[in-house]
């Protein structure tokens, strides 16, 4: 597969990137073993970084036991992690094409500006979370309902470094699809204890996060 980005998308992305404030670093993790779309993700990341001088890329062709992969807790490939001035846990696994391309672009902007498009009361509540939260949003590139939930998860990770937000293109990871029983997208799993389907409102999303915190406290 050859990655092509049409001129209009390229131009629009460049326009959007004019709003970037501080530098963004994309960490790209690929592997030479059993990786469906590693080459294509590398092409996409290269294209994205060529569209703004504020975006740099650090590549690691390495397996999960490599020190860099361990540091970033990368257990599957391809993976990208987006850092702004702070080391956010904004991660994307798989090929970000179709509706998902916009998710990565928006997350780069959020990481660079620190600005998220959420109501202020939600922002305050997300910032106040002080326990580790792992959000996994499972998506497909053809799903128009998926970006809203994926962007919200990444926004949460921008607001609070206790939150790791993974967006996962599920068709590339059949073992996860099986493990979490994914028969419809978007599906979101929080801390492996709470799960929900569909593009819910931000309030409902936050309620699920709070429930996961509550459950972890009870178990803890």
């Amino acid at each position: 597969m050859v990655i092509e980005i049409d001129e209009l998308t390229r131009r629009r992305t460049s326009e959007i990137f004019k709003t970037l404030k501080s530098p963004v670093k994309i960490y790209l993790f690929t592997t030479t073993m059993h990786c469906l779309h590693c080459n294509e993700v590398e092409e996409i990341v290269d294209i994205i970084s060529s569209l703004s001088p504020l975006i740099s890329v650090e590549k690691c062709t390495c397996n999960a036991d490599h020190p860099q992969a361990r540091k970033f807790r990368i257990d599957k490939h391809p993976a990208i992690v987006i850092h702004g001035e702070r080391e956010f846990n904004i991660r994307y696994f798989g090929l970000p094409v179709g509706y998902e391309f916009g998710v990565v672009i928006d997350s780069i902007v959020a990481a660079s500006t620190g600005i998220v498009k959420l109501p202020s009361r939600i922002i305050d509540l997300v910032k106040s979370i002080n326990t580790p939260i792992h959000i996994q949003v499972f998506v497909t590139p053809t799903c128009p309902y998926c970006p809203s939930i994926a962007k919200t998860a990444h926004s949460f990770a921008v607001l609070n470094q206790n939150i790791t937000a993974d967006v996962i293109e599920v068709t590339e990871f059949p073992e996860l699809s099986k493990r979490y029983g994914i028969y419809a997208v978007p599906k979101t799993v929080i801390n492996d204890t709470v799960e929900f389907e569909g593009a819910v409102s931000t309030d409902a999303f936050l309620r699920h996060v709070m429930r996961a915190i509550d459950l972890s406290r009870r178990v803890g």
Partner: protein, 308 residues
Amino acid sequence: MSIFLSEKPLYDVIVIGAGPAGLTAGMYCASMGFKTLVIEGSQPSRLQLAEQIHNYPGFPDGVSGFELLNRMRIQTLKAGAEFRREDVVAVDLLSPVKTVITRSESITAFTVIIAIGLGKRKLNIEGEDRFLGLGISYCALCDGPLYKDKTIALVSDEFPGDLLSLSRLASKIYFIPLNPLESISGLPGNVEVLNVKIKAITGVNRVEGLRITRNGIEETLQVDGVFISTRNIPFTSIIAKSGVEIDERGCIKVGKDMATNIEGVYAAGDCTCGGMQVAVAVGQGAVAAINAMAYIHQQRKELKSIIV
């Protein structure tokens, strides 16, 4: 009417819905200087799902629904409309100042333009609710890729565009038309058309089969998933409670001026069952906006005369 008007509303116009009708209405009102809010719900417009539109004027080579909608959105933003991304949970339309309630706040306006589009109809068969997200899907585009090389059933009340996209993914498709079709030619080899009655969707923890009756004999088809693609019905349950007249199909009743039975409330686009075409939705959005603006003008005059 305006004697009940106790305070100035926040907006001149609230448009509920951000499909082609809502965006056009919002664009018209905002560009004429009216304070306009467009509320975008979590369900994307049907237009966003359309792969290619070939009958919308100005695009001789066709345009993707996503692209067209995005262009309309940018135009409406440029015209000065505000956007809010929230679902509307209730509306109070009977007073001169209309209130639209979302999950987080109440917003008021002189007029409301309803452009909420269509929702999907359920089949109402056994197992449909229980297996939602466990092998039942209403979005072939979203969930199709999860059924690569699997056996699925597609239940539909018309010949669906979904059939061809699914046939490229699944290894076998049972296509079950709800209204029996005479004959269809040129179907891909992995599609089998079944003119049968569906009794139930079966399984233990997820969809495993479809119980049907064929020629009076009951049998179970082994399937990994069931895709339901039914003709859309309007999304009008919240609106119906507000006093807006809805016909027996669930469509909002409007006149030629796109006015509903309630003064200051207009409707446009698919929720009026006006033809399900983008060009029609755009035209209706414009008509609704023009009449809504005339109404606001009148309201302002009355308000002024009362204050004086």
